[in-house]
């Protein structure tokens, strides 16, 4: 399938209020749509050959007060890669889990929950730790988290005992 055929197919069959499709590189498409239309679209894509979920990730657009969720899908049949993106509110970030469509989403969602604080409804792992153990600060991949100050607070700065003159003489 060519990129344009997929665009036509999606535009014909998926009802979405607002959104855009763009081909950003050969065989790679970007698809931005509203949060409520996301799951239907993903289901449609899965039924139409996109059997593999490559990844889910999140981008913190702190200036717009939004999180952007990105779902990467691959179709072997069509040899296409699609990024399906949606924006959610940053203050109360919630999303429906797609574990039932792709079981592998479980851990991607858990990771996003841990690093961005997005809550995925329907995912049992939401309160479990995955990578960060005993984390006591805000989700660290948010843009307002400052690793330098966190590190200064938690760890001692190592000071080396040497003098420039000593070095020069040696």
């Amino acid at each position: 399938m060519k990129e344009q055929e997929l665009i036509d197919l999606i535009e014909k069959h998926v009802k979405y209020e607002e959104g855009s499709i763009e081909v950003y590189a050969p065989r790679k498409l970007k698809f931005i749509l509203k949060k409520d239309d996301l799951v239907d679209t993903l289901l449609f894509l899965k039924r139409n050959g996109f059997v593999q979920l490559s990844f889910i990730t999140c981008v913190d657009w702190i200036k717009d007060n939004k999180f952007e969720l990105v779902y990467g899908l691959v179709s072997w049949e069509h040899k296409l890669t699609v990024l399906v993106k949606t924006f959610i509110d940053r203050d109360n970030p919630k999303m429906i889990s797609i574990m039932d469509i792709w079981p592998t989403a479980k851990y991607y969602e858990q990771e996003i929950n841990e690093f961005f604080g997005v809550y995925f409804e329907g995912n049992p792992n939401m309160s479990k730790e995955l990578i960060l153990e005993n984390w006591d600060s805000m989700p660290p991949l948010r843009k307002d988290f400052d690793p330098q100050s966190y590190s200064n607070e938690k760890f001692e700065i190592r000071i080396y005992d040497y003098k420039m003159e000593d070095k020069k003489k040696k």
Binding site: Y160, D161, Y162, M164, E165, K167, K168
Partner: protein
């Protein structure tokens, strides 16, 4: 490929390696030579290194710090800091080598270093290497791995044909894309700031261009220089001569970038910056004699500190050498007017056509709290007849007598100055070229053809004029004769026939003093009907009352003063050419410094904190 079948004995075959030579080696008995491109321990050539700190900027792991070397004298164009590498952090990516502006930092093929002391792994690279064995060079940067952009963005010029017969400004200025591209070459080492006489915040304002925040750029410019429009065009750009990028490539076009900021900021935004309030205004009145770079600079800074400032200028227009000395094609009036208009806008009063003489000087001294002298070197010097016979002829003209006339002519305030058909100019400095290129234009207007020769004492490689002046002058049709000393102006029938020159063997003696030596046999006669002399300018102190003059020390034509322009009189300050010698940027710096000193003096006088 057929699928393997189970076979117990095929694995037993592997035992044959018991009798083969093993591949591992015994260290330290055997040393394994690293590959030619190996990225091993660093070495640094201290003579080449300028301490720009770019290596420490690029280091992805923060392993490189710049530290002051105690007892190490920083020469011109370098800092007293050298890189220190923490091998506990280094990841041997080699980006420091790729980006090193001078090429002093290198990587060796040495890769083994053992020490029980963690502090030993903080290493100051020098040529010896960490193991003190002067290791062989490993990884080398090449054109492809270079992380610097070494070539300047080309500045658009009018062609010699287009510019040769008019006085319009021929440097076009950068477009936005060009300026940003040029600004993105800067590594922000700040070595230029130290070298600039006015210590302008060069990396900072270049950064504002790159960030496309010109308003902030103007702010940075006015911190140290109230005449950026002028300096963006005609500064001697000492900064560019030390630019760290100049070691391996072309220096950043700092002057053109400054001009870009000035030319591309709208007036209203400009005003916002210039008219910003100062927090602690001072009290008092200051008289400034001479509205040249130093005077205007002092006036601006004093005014921003809240003083009442009056500038007295004998000429009809303010600007001094900027108005009358530099040719129009290099510095158009509009640029100068713009700079001066902002200085006036903040409340500096400029009284033109006001010639200060001894009487008026005394008046000013009474009426004002402090007086700042910046009358410049405005009198043209000529070689006297006993050195150069014939130099008292009326067609032998000093540069400073000629250039103001040209400017007046161009702005429609005077007649076209007399130019001959064949012209010789004595003096290979920038002024000589200014005269020469002005004459070229006038000749083209008058005769439609060009015949101008410049004779310089110096050979081409030590020519005092800027390189670009020479190149552009030649494009326009100037002839330049190097290593020629004037011997005699030949006059026949009261008319100049030409200039007899002799070969100049050397200009400076072994001690570096000006002491030219000539080969009298090697003669060259240059035909001319008019001769210009650009052999320097002189001050004029006639306006200073004798009692004051007596107490001022004059050293080689300049009034002796400290760094801040303080003289033997606590109320009298000097700056510009009469303190430092002819150079606009020095004048501006003097004015700024004098303003600080005057401020201090007046605050003390009036007891204002």
């Amino acid at each position: 490929m057929d699928k393997p079948k189970a076979n117990l004995f095929s694995s037993i075959k592997s035992l044959k390696y018991l009798f083969k030579k093993p591949v591992t080696i015994e260290i330290p008995k055997v040393y394994r030579e690293a590959a030619d491109r190996y990225r091993g321990f660093h070495t640094n050539d201290w003579d080449k290194c300028i301490g720009c700190g770019t290596c420490s900027e690029i280091c992805p792991t923060n392993a490189i710090r710049m530290e002051k070397v105690p007892g190490y004298e920083a020469g011109n164009g370098q800092t007293d800091e050298r890189p220190v590498i923490d091998y506990g952090r280094c990841c041997w990516c080699g980006f420091c080598v790729d980006i090193c502006t001078t090429g002093s930092l290198k990587m060796s093929k040495d890769y083994i270093f053992i020490s029980p002391d963690a502090n030993d792994f903080i290493y100051i690279p020098d040529e010896e290497g960490i193991n003190k064995n002067y290791p062989e060079e490993g990884y080398r940067r090449n054109d492809e791995t270079d992380l610097l952009e070494l070539e300047r963005v080309i500045m658009g010029h009018l062609s010699a044909e287009e510019r040769g017969d008019s006085f319009i400004e021929y440097v076009r200025g950068y477009s936005k894309e060009e300026a940003i591209r040029e600004a993105s070459r800067c590594v922000e080492c700040g070595i230029c700031t130290y070298t600039c006489p006015a210590h302008m915040n060069i990396p900072e304002y270049i950064r504002t261009i790159w960030e496309d925040d010109l308003e902030k750029g103007v702010e940075y410019l006015y911190k140290t220089n109230p005449l950026p429009g002028v300096c963006g065009r005609v500064c001697t750009h000492k900064c560019e001569s030390v630019c760290s990028l100049g070691h391996r490539g072309e220096p950043i076009a700092i002057r053109w970038l400054k001009r870009y900021i000035v030319d591309n900021t709208p007036d209203d935004e400009y005003e916002k910056v210039v008219l910003a309030e100062v927090s602690k205004p001072g009290k008092g009145k200051v008289a400034i004699i001479g509205a040249g770079p130093a005077g205007l600079s002092a006036a601006y800074y004093l005014r921003t500190l809240g003083y009442e400032v009056d500038v007295f200028e004998q000429m009809p227009l303010a600007g001094g050498v900027m108005r009358y000395g530099i040719p129009r094609y290099r510095l158009p009036d509009e640029a100068l007017d713009r700079d001066i208009s902002f200085i006036e806008k903040i409340g500096v009063r400029i009284h033109t056509n006001y010639k200060v003489d001894k009487e008026k000087f005394k008046e000013l001294k009474e009426k004002y709290d402090a007086v700042f002298l910046s009358t410049g070197f405005f009198t043209g010097r000529k070689l006297p007849p006993h050195i150069l016979p014939g130099s008292d002829h009326t067609d032998v003209i000093a540069a400073m007598d000629f250039l103001p006339k040209v400017r007046d002519f161009v702005r429609g305030m005077g007649e076209m100055p007399e130019v001959g058909e064949k012209v010789v100019i004595i003096g290979g400095g920038n002024v000589g070229f200014d005269v020469g290129r002005s004459v070229v234009r006038l000749q083209r207007m008058k005769y439609g053809k060009v015949d101008v020769t410049i004779t310089a004492l110096e050979s081409e490689d030590i020519l005092p004029a800027d390189r670009e002046e020479l190149e552009e002058g030649r494009e326009e049709g100037l002839k330049v004769v190097f290593s020629r000393g004037p011997k005699e102006i030949v006059i026949e029938d009261g008319k100049i026939k030409g200039l007899l020159t002799v070969k100049c063997l050397r200009v400076f003696d072994d001690e570096g003093k000006f002491n030219p030596q000539f080969d009298e046999e090697d003669k060259l006669f240059l035909e001319a009907d008019q001769i210009f002399m650009a052999v320097g300018q002189a001050p004029d102190y006639n306006y200073i009352p004798d009692d004051i003059m007596e107490k001022l020390e004059i050293v080689r034509g300049k009034i002796k003063a400290d760094e801040y322009g303080r003289t033997n009189f606590e109320w009298l300050f000097v700056g510009g050419d009469i303190k430092e010698g002819p150079d606009i940027i020095h004048g501006i710096a003097n004015g700024h410094n004098a303003a600080k000193a005057i401020d201090e003096y007046l605050r003390k006088k009036y007891g204002i904190e």
